[in-house]
Symmetry: C2
Subunit: 218 residues, 2 copies
DNA sequence: TAACATCGGACTGTTAGCAGTCGCCCACTG
DNA sequence: CAGTGGGCGACTGCTAACAGTCCGATGTTA
């Protein structure tokens, strides 16, 4: 039987996942400001879910570093300072540099490179759109870089840093963040990978991240 | 009032934390073998806690990569293959190399170096003890390295990898694992940091991790 | 015998509610 | 007025139970 793509499976996300996504968005968008105490009963009523389900989502957010637990289990939205942003981008830098190195050394990397170029093109298109879309396409590029490395552990580590990255962007303000969205810089990364020069690819990423952190905090 | 050390605070760990620790140990010790399906009702009865509390712990283990969720929320103990071990150690390598680089560039690192040397000494003492203690002191050295970098994000990323590292050791078998416990190799790391040569420190760590992975899977 | 319907059993998703603890306010007391 | 102690509200820790879903076994029919 011929099936349309729209019939290939309905997405029934669990309430926990929905809550997780909603809270992540609320935090990284600043709707829940840093330092704010998260009261379980309050949140569960807002989201219209039970506390038990909510608590599971909170646990995950805690692991992602978006919220931190204080005394007696009281959760609050994490507050980033300048040093922490630098630290986050330093870790992000070594992770993505590993991805770039891995891709550089990959024997047949044409398919991967094509996908990366598509991601850059996507940033190009988004450059004329809203700031939010530019941020999304930028993060999408970097996530793709990690995914294409084929190292699941690497991808997972990066993704559990993604929330912190988004908070850093939020903290710095959107104008500063857009300094890092230059399409050209990302072309350089792809080019470095293309040459197969792993050391060069690594340096390009590290430099990119260092300057990205400086752009955000400077 | 003069208080004795034993009165400085009782440790009341939540059931969730206890369950987390117990499950982590059970998995990394092989008591719960890879691939095994974890039935919530079964585990909660074993641990004598409710499913709600257990589920929170499972969520955390999932994030740590010790268990993975299959269809319809069914959790099972993660199964590592050779490639995944290499991937884990590659990520671990870049994380620890960042720690080593950071320490190398630190202006007054004497206190940190002293602590690292103490960790190496501890490995030395443990060399005559049980395999388990050797593994613990080895991991403790590397955790200390990350902690002393002062980069909380780095430490957190490393710690969320720790479970996977322990599984790798388990997977490889204890004999192979002890190949990586050489005290001399760890002296080299400290020495590289001491010279302040960040590039050298980085290379030493990366080489250490590459050979560690090969020792485990070869 | 092959396709189909039905019925339990096994588990997970989710919820409401009880229990314990901490912080705060206020009265009391020497 | 410093210090003590009792009540009260707020909030988290934990639990038991309900509801829904999937899977396999068993029967059923053409």
């Amino acid at each position: 039987m011929a099936v349309t793509a729209s019939l290939l499976g309905l997405e029934k996300k669990s309430l926990r996942e929905q809550a997780l996504a909603a809270l992540r968005t609320a935090i990284t968008s600043g709707e829940l400001e840093p330092g704010r105490h998260l009261v379980e009963t309050e949140l569960s009523e807002m989201l219209q879910i039970s506390r038990g389900t909510l608590r599971e989502a909170l646990r995950q957010l805690e692991q992602e570093g978006l919220i931190s637990a204080g005394a007696r289990g009281r959760m609050s939205v994490r507050h980033l300072d300048v040093k922490e942003i630098r630290d986050i981008f330093a870790v992000r830098g070594v992770l993505e540099s590993l991805a770039a190195r891995t891709l550089s050394d990959m024997p047949d990397k044409e398919a991967a490179l094509a996908e990366l170029r598509a991601a850059v093109d996507n940033m190009d298109k988004a450059a004329k759109s809203s700031l939010q879309e530019r941020i999304e396409s930028d993060l999408e590029f970097h996530r793709t870089l990690c995914r294409l490395s084929g190292n699941e552990t690497l991808l997972h580590s990066w993704e559990s840093l993604e929330g912190s990255i988004r908070m850093s962007i939020m903290f710095a303000g959107l104008e500063r963040a857009t300094r890092n969205m230059s399409v050209g810089r990302h072309h350089d990364i792809v080019a470095a990978i293309e040459t197969g020069n792993a050391a060069k690819a690594r340096e390009t990423i590290i430099a990119h991240m260092d300057s990205a952190a400086e752009n955000l905090v400077g």
